[in-house]
């Protein structure tokens, strides 16, 4: 039973300034940890589209953005799947 990360996590550059992190299927604390790592990877002004479906992770990510000075540009919810856009400070 091999567990391959690229089958469960998607992290890819969409364009020059935009990255996508898709961690659907993961709960706490994986979503927060992957989100924090992805945001650290981004340079200032870059944007991250974060897709997740664990509601409670959103609370921690909101706080994380506040602490780091990052800006939550948009939050969308579609049938329990959350798509957030965050701009790196």
């Amino acid at each position: 039973m091999a567990i391959k990360l690229k089958e469960t996590v998607k992290f890819e550059q969409q364009s020059d300034n935009n990255w996508l992190l898709d961690v659907k299927g993961y709960g706490c604390p994986h979503v927060q940890i992957y989100a924090e790592k992805a945001l650290k990877k981004l340079t200032s002004g870059n944007e991250l589209t974060l897709v997740f479906d664990n509601p409670s992770s959103g609370e921690s990510i909101t706080y994380l953005c506040t602490a780091n000075g990052d800006t939550l540009l948009d939050r969308q919810e579609d049938g329990g799947t959350f798509t957030w856009k965050i701009r790196r400070a």
């Binding site: 990360l5 469960t8 993961y26 940890i33 664990n54 609370e59 939050r75 919810e77 329990g80």
Partner: protein, 480 residues
């Protein structure tokens, strides 16, 4: 503060109406099921009180994302104190309510015996809750959000407890001789093999030799409201909670608060900073307030019903109704009268194993104390089901409900974490609710010891999970 105000409102999913409909269907089913119980026997109102309070707890837990695992874990994993602050505010509020309930004469709390088992139980529980992605209570509300990984956590908590409470065999080799000698001297009914099984000997040979107390009882303070408020609530719960809150502010939140306020200073400025930290945890604090009020009300209502039916335990009522299967030797069942999570889950596992032919009633935990009632007659068990349904109602209304299938990694973590939480909660005599929340808020310091164990366990588990993620990232080729 950064520009979080610029967040656009969450987009509403077009099928939100469907969520309202499902929530209404669930609520209607709860009402119909309640009416069926009452039509069979009106004395089932005792069980339904548990169920309906469970529904209310489920709504508050889901609203506030109330999670002890998050409180400990997010602090170490990503430096976020939001949930820790919310839980501590809830502790303060619930302690005040508990004191009022104590004065009213309906407090059913019993202090836990003090010993090394509390910190070991807390440590195992802390490890487990971080691996599992949620504590005992949050696994219930997350199940209500459609998280099937949390269902596995519940499964694992249930069966690991049932196994530990009843297993002998090789586990007997781990029992100190002194426990066996002491257990053998206990005057126990013949049906119970108290010198066979680790948990029986732990209970009769170790736990029963210990004592526990509340601050008011320890100092023999007069039994009045001021003693409960200033002894049990203020000294044991509120002051320690305030100290931890100030530490969280000083070492974590303050640097965020002062970033855009470099020209300000003084006590008023710091107090506004503390208040700002509280408001960051607004939902959890509101949930804590609601949980505190309703947990107190549950004690009150259950106490009134016990008076009304002239009983001490629901087992007596079940016996009066001729439901004798699953009662303990003392005709009792697990019936704490307040918010509790793990023991009823142990009963679910034990009941199922007994159904498969495993002898589960020859031990102290089930056979003498808690019994193994059918899950449909298990009042605290119905409270847990109520929590799941209450969370499902709110999650459907807010559009957050989604069936989530766990991947292989989540399955393994859920089963391992659930088992550690189950074993930890039996050794520590409860979970984050029964061994921590309910104890410290009733003047029993054992809960802070359990929390210390949980923090150590949580810290180790966070380090382990971060190392696991780093290892996987290094092998995956991801450029994180």
């Amino acid at each position: 503060m950064p520009a979080q105000a610029a967040i656009n409102p969450a987009t509403k999913h077009p099928s939100r109406r469907r969520g309202f409909l499902i929530a209404a269907v669930i609520a209607t089913l709860v009402v119909i099921t309640s009416l069926i119980y009452l039509s069979i026997d009106q004395r089932f109102v005792y069980l339904l009180v548990y169920t309906w309070f469970g529904v209310i707890y489920g709504v508050f837990l889901q609203y506030g994302r109330f999670c002890m695992a998050s409180a400990v874990r997010d602090l170490f994993a990503v430096g976020v104190p939001r949930m820790a602050v919310g839980v501590l505010i809830a502790v303060i509020l619930y302690a005040i309510i508990s004191a009022l309930i104590q004065q009213a004469g309906f407090n059913t709390f019993h202090a836990h015996p003090l010993g090394w088992h509390i910190i070991i139980g807390g440590l195992l529980f802390g490890l487990g809750m971080v691996f599992a992605g949620g504590c005992a209570s949050s696994s219930l509300y997350k199940t209500g959000e459609g998280n099937l990984g949390s269902v596995l956590v519940l499964f694992s908590i249930s069966f690991s407890q049932a196994w530990l409470a009843s297993a002998g065999g090789w586990l007997n080799h781990l029992v100190p001789a002194s426990w066996t000698e002491t257990a053998a001297q206990a005057q126990m009914p013949e049906e119970l093999s108290v010198t066979d099984g680790w948990f029986d000997q732990f209970t009769a040979g170790y736990l029963w030799e210990l004592s526990g107390t509340t601050l008011v009882d320890f100092f023999a303070l007069p039994a009045n409201l001021w003693s409960y408020l200033f002894g049990n609530a203020l000294v044991v719960a509120i002051l320690p909670a305030l100290v931890i809150l100030l530490l969280l502010y000083t070492f974590n939140y303050r640097k965020i608060y002062i970033r855009n306020r470099t020209n300000e200073s003084g006590l008023g400025y710091e107090l506004r900073g503390v208040w700002s930290m509280f408001t960051q945890s607004r939902n959890t604090a509101i949930a804590g307030l609601g949980l505190g009020i309703f947990a107190g009300l549950q004690m009150l209502v259950t106490g009134e019903l016990r008076d009304h039916y002239n009983i001490f335990n629901f087992g007596e009522l079940l016996a009066q109704m001729d439901y004798l299967d699953g009662l303990s030797i003392q005709d009792s069942v697990f019936d704490p009268g307040y918010w509790y999570i793990t023991t009823q889950e142990a009963q679910w596992g034990g009941w199922f194993l007994q159904l498969l032919g495993v002898e589960m009633m020859d031990n102290i935990f089930f056979g003498l104390d808690n019994g193994l009632p059918n899950p449909l007659l298990n009042a605290p068990g119905m409270m847990s089901i109520g929590i799941i349904l209450g969370a499902a109602i709110l999650a459907n209304i807010t559009g957050e409900f989604k069936w989530k299938w766990p991947n292989n990694e989540t399955v393994i973590l859920a089963l391992v974490g659930g088992a550690l939480m189950g074993i930890g909660s039996r050794i520590g005599m409860g979970c984050n609710i029964g061994a921590f929340f309910a104890t410290v808020t009733n003047g029993d310091i054992s809960g802070w010891i359990f929390l210390a164990g949980m923090i150590v366990g949580g810290y180790i588990a966070v380090k382990g999970i971060k190392a696991w993620i780093d290892w996987r990232l290094a092998r995956s080729g991801f450029d994180f």
